[in-house]
């Protein structure tokens, strides 16, 4: 594991996977010969056009800004709430049913209603992203805090930490791996909510570009946009993974355990 060739292969593997997927796409599109299914090469060629266009670029950057704000605020609110729920039965009993009712509701579907009240501005879209991110973060913080060992808290109390201090100094770090799992899910959901809310509102942003192109039959642009959004997802996830690895170096890597049969 510590050998550099192994690290190299691990680093290179996702890149290879990307190339492989693009190759599969290329072959499939050549085989299908479908007008509405451009080849990977055509799609990739269309990317500079989108990113070079000033309006598209500002639209995409505006999308990202909304996403960042929605995500940030959601994380700041949800983690304390989740931790409190995890450490207090009463608070958990209070919020759980409400959250269970809200969880399966697609937050982007609230767009039309919120649009009625707040208009189609940044506030609406950011609010929807906020709602989309909060639930997984609350859920995972809750689970993480619930699993914190009682004895750790007892020893904290014995050292004279107040309940609030225990929450910050013991529960938060102990639940951090789980919280970060929630944040990672939240990040993906933020992206999904961003795209869909823009698809529904059809005003501006990455989702709008995507569906306008679809309506206008600019298939190269559609697929190029898919690549751009996909790359956004993969990059954000990779960055997040870096941060996560830094923050919870002490915890075991979750998905790196081989199953041994012998």
């Amino acid at each position: 594991m510590m050998m550099s060739p192994a690290v190299l292969t691990r680093r290179a593997a996702p890149v290879l996977a990307c190339i492989g997927l693009l190759a599969v796409w290329q072959v499939a599109s050549l085989a299908l010969k479908n007008d509405s299914f451009p080849t990977a090469v055509e799609a990739v060629r269309a990317i500079p056009d989108i990113l070079g266009d000033k309006e598209s670029l500002t639209n995409i950057l505006a999308s990202l800004r909304r996403m960042a704000i929605g995500f940030g605020v959601a994380v700041l609110v949800s983690i304390p709430l989740g931790l409190l729920m995890g450490r207090s039965r009463a608070i958990a009993a209070f919020f759980n049913p409400l959250l269970m009712v809200i969880y399966p509701v697609p937050k982007a579907a609230l767009m039309p209603i919120i649009m009625l009240w707040l208009g189609v501005g940044d506030v609406t879209k950011t609010l929807v992203i906020f709602l989309g991110v909060s639930l997984p973060v609350i859920y995972h913080s809750f689970e993480g805090a619930k699993a914190v060992e009682e004895k750790m808290l007892w020893s904290g109390a014995a050292m004279g930490l107040s309940p609030a201090q225990r929450l910050v100094r013991i529960v938060l770090p102990a639940a951090l791996p789980e919280i970060l799992t929630g944040c990672r899910t939240g990040l993906v959901l933020a992206l999904i909510t961003m795209i869909t809310s823009e698809m529904i509102a059809r005003q501006s942003g990455a989702g709008n570009i995507l569906f306008n192109a679809l309506d206008m039959g600019q298939y190269d642009t559609v697929f190029a946009m898919i690549i751009i959004v996909g790359a956004m997802g993969i990059c954000l996830d990779a960055i997040f993974e870096r941060v996560r690895a830094r923050l919870v170096r002490w915890s075991e890597p979750q998905f790196d355990m081989p199953l041994s049969f012998s």
């Binding site: 593997a13 996702p14 290879l16 996977a17 990307c18 492989g20 997927l21 479908n34 509405s36 299914f37 039965r89 009463a90 009993a93 209070f94 919020f95 759980n96 049913p97 409400l98 269970m100 009712v101 399966p104 509701v105 697609p106 937050k107 982007a108 579907a109 609230l110 039309p112 209603i113 009625l116 009240w117 990040l187 993906v188 992206l191 999904i192 795209i195 869909t196 698809m199 529904i200 995507l210 569906f211 192109a213 679809l214 298939y219 559609v222 946009m225 898919i226 959004v229 996909g230 956004m232 997802g233 993969i234 954000l236 990779a238 979750q254 998905f255 355990m257 081989p258 199953l259 049969f261």
Partner: protein, 255 residues
């Protein structure tokens, strides 16, 4: 967790829901929000009951449910089998891991236009989208569960004469079941969300379509009805999954 809630906890849990509805009613009654924008809750719920008995609305629900179940089922079958295969075979692992790393964080709705172009505007594209979105949580938690199966369980079965490939079904699968079901729960919620969104984006039927139709005509009441319906569906399905879970995991501690 829900089954062990005490009645007092139940009251505590109902309280915020009641509060929300009361606030909603208050907003309407005291004229903070015009009824056109925010119809009173009583009105919405009676409309919901009224709709639930009509055939057209039932057909919308059925369309949504069919897509949801089809997509979810595909995701479960693929996710569990790929997850276990990746945990059991280093070769499959080497292929699957990087692909999953690339595809898992990709927002699948962005693929929806491509699916529409390739699979048409019917069930196919929506079911595929649901499956693609629900797949990864199930796959990852299956993989995690299967790779952390206690070695001694496998050894015990091998010592009793179980051939290697049977170990997968007789030990790894049941032992990974808690983790698999956790993944399924996340996958189910995502399925609910995605099927609705897909229907909102393009569809001629389903709950999402009902919402969009209402939004086009500014019928606020009819916009609430499908939302509440999908929330209820989510609750019911989650409850069913919970029942399946407590049956399948009846032998596991803390299930």
């Amino acid at each position: 967790m829900m089954s062990r809630l005490l009645p007092s906890n139940l009251v505590l849990g109902i309280a915020p829901i009641v509060l929300v509805i009361a606030l909603w009613q208050g907003l309407v009654s005291f004229g903070f929000a015009p009824a056109v924008l925010l119809p009173p809750p009583g009105f919405v719920f009676s409309r919901l009951l009224q709709q639930l008995v009509t055939l057209t609305f039932q057909q919308e629900i059925a369309a949504t449910l069919i897509r949801l179940f089809a997509g979810f089922a595909i995701a479960v079958v693929l996710g569990v089998s790929i997850g276990i295969a990746a945990a059991a075979s280093p070769a499959i692992n080497a292929v699957v891991r990087p692909i999953v790393r690339v595809l898992a964080p990709l927002p699948k709705v962005a693929l929806y236009p491509a699916l529409l172009l390739l699979l048409g505007f019917g069930h196919g594209s929506k079911v595929t989208l649901v499956a693609a979105d629900a797949l990864f949580p199930i796959l990852l938690s299956t993989y995690y569960g299967a790779s952390t199966v206690e070695q001694k369980l496998i050894w015990s079965a091998m010592a009793a004469g179980t051939p290697r490939y049977e170990i997968l079904f007789k030990v790894v699968l049941p032992a990974a079941m808690p983790s698999i079901l956790t993944g399924c729960r996340i996958g189910l919620v995502i399925s609910c969300i995605v099927v609705f969104l897909a229907e909102m984006i393009t569809s001629t039927d389903g709950l999402g379509h009902a919402l969009v139709t209402a939004a086009r005509t500014f019928q606020a009441v009819d916009m609430f009805v499908p939302l509440i319906t999908i929330s209820l569906l989510g609750l019911i399905l989650n409850g069913l999954l919970g029942a399946v879970r407590s049956y399948l995991l009846r032998g596991f501690p803390e299930a």
